[in-house]
Amino acid sequence: MTDTSLPPQQQSRFNIHRLANPGFFLRFATIIQPWINVSAALCLVIGLVWGLFYSPADWQQGDSVRIMYIHVPMAILASGGYFALAVCALCSLIWKHPLADLAAEEIGPVGAVITALCLITGSLWGKPMWGTWWVWDARLTSVLVLFFLYLGHITLLHAFDDQQKGYKAAAILALVGVFDLPIIKFSVNWWNTLHQPSTFSLTHAPSMSFSMMWPLFFCFAGLALGFIALVCIRLRTAILERQIRHILLNE
C-alpha cells in the first residue's frame, strides 16, 4: 500500500496520519479486519472455556462469580468506549478530522449496548449476591448515567435536519459527559458503596487469584478486540454509505 504522491523514502513507511484519509482507512481496515476478528474469537473462546469450566468457584459466591468474566470486561469497555467517543468529539471540534464524526456515530450504539449489558449482567450478579436487582449506590448510578449519555449522544446525532449541527451537538455532549468517567472509576473510593472496591491497582498486588485473573484477561482481550472489530465494520460501512451519497448526488 504505497502512496506515490509521497517522496520515495516515505512511500513504504506507515504514517498513522494517513488513516485520516477515508480511502486509505477503508483499505487498511479491510486488510486488518480478518486478523482482528480471528484474534477476538480466539481470545474469547480461551477466556470463556477457561473461566466457565476450569477456573475455581468463589468460596463465598460459588459459581455466580463466573458472571465476572463478562461483567467486568463490559464495564471497562463501557468507559473505554465513551472515552473513545470523547476523543472523536475533540478531533471533530478542534481539528475537523474527516473521520471523527463518522467514528463517533458508529461507536455510540456499540457502547450503549455494552453499557446496557454491563448493567444487566451486574443486576443478574447482584440479585443472588446482594439480594436485590438494583441499588442507587454511586457506582451503579454513575454507570446508568453513562448509559443515558450514550443514548443522548445517539439521539442528538439524529435530532437535526442539518447533519453537521447534529454532529456538533453530539460532540459537545460527549465532551461534557466525559466527567462521568472518573466518577465511575473512583465512586467506590469516594463513597460508601454496596459495589465492591477495585480489585486491580497500580500501587498494590491484585486481590484476585491468578487462576481467575488469566481467564478474565483473555475475556477482556477478546471483548475489546471484538469491540474494535465491530466499530471497524461499522466505520467501513459508514464510509461506503458516504461514497454512495456522493455518487447519487453527482448523478
Partner: protein, 46 residues
C-alpha cells in the same frame, strides 16, 4: 437455591445482544458493498 439460572441468563442475554448487533453490522456492510458495486457498474462507460 442454585445460582445457575442467573449465570445462564447473564451469558444468554450477552450472547444474544452482541450476536444481534454483530449480525446487523455485518449484513449492513454487505448490503452497502452490493449497492456501491451496482452503482459503480451502472456508471461505467459502455
Amino acid at each position: 437455591m442454585t445460582h445457575l439460572p442467573y449465570l445462564i441468563a447473564a451469558y444468554g442475554i450477552t450472547i444474544i445482544a452482541l450476536g444481534t448487533i454483530s449480525l446487523h453490522s455485518w449484513t449492513r456492510l454487505k448490503q452497502v458493498q452490493k449497492k456501491l458495486s451496482q452503482l459503480q457498474n451502472n456508471n461505467k462507460p459502455s
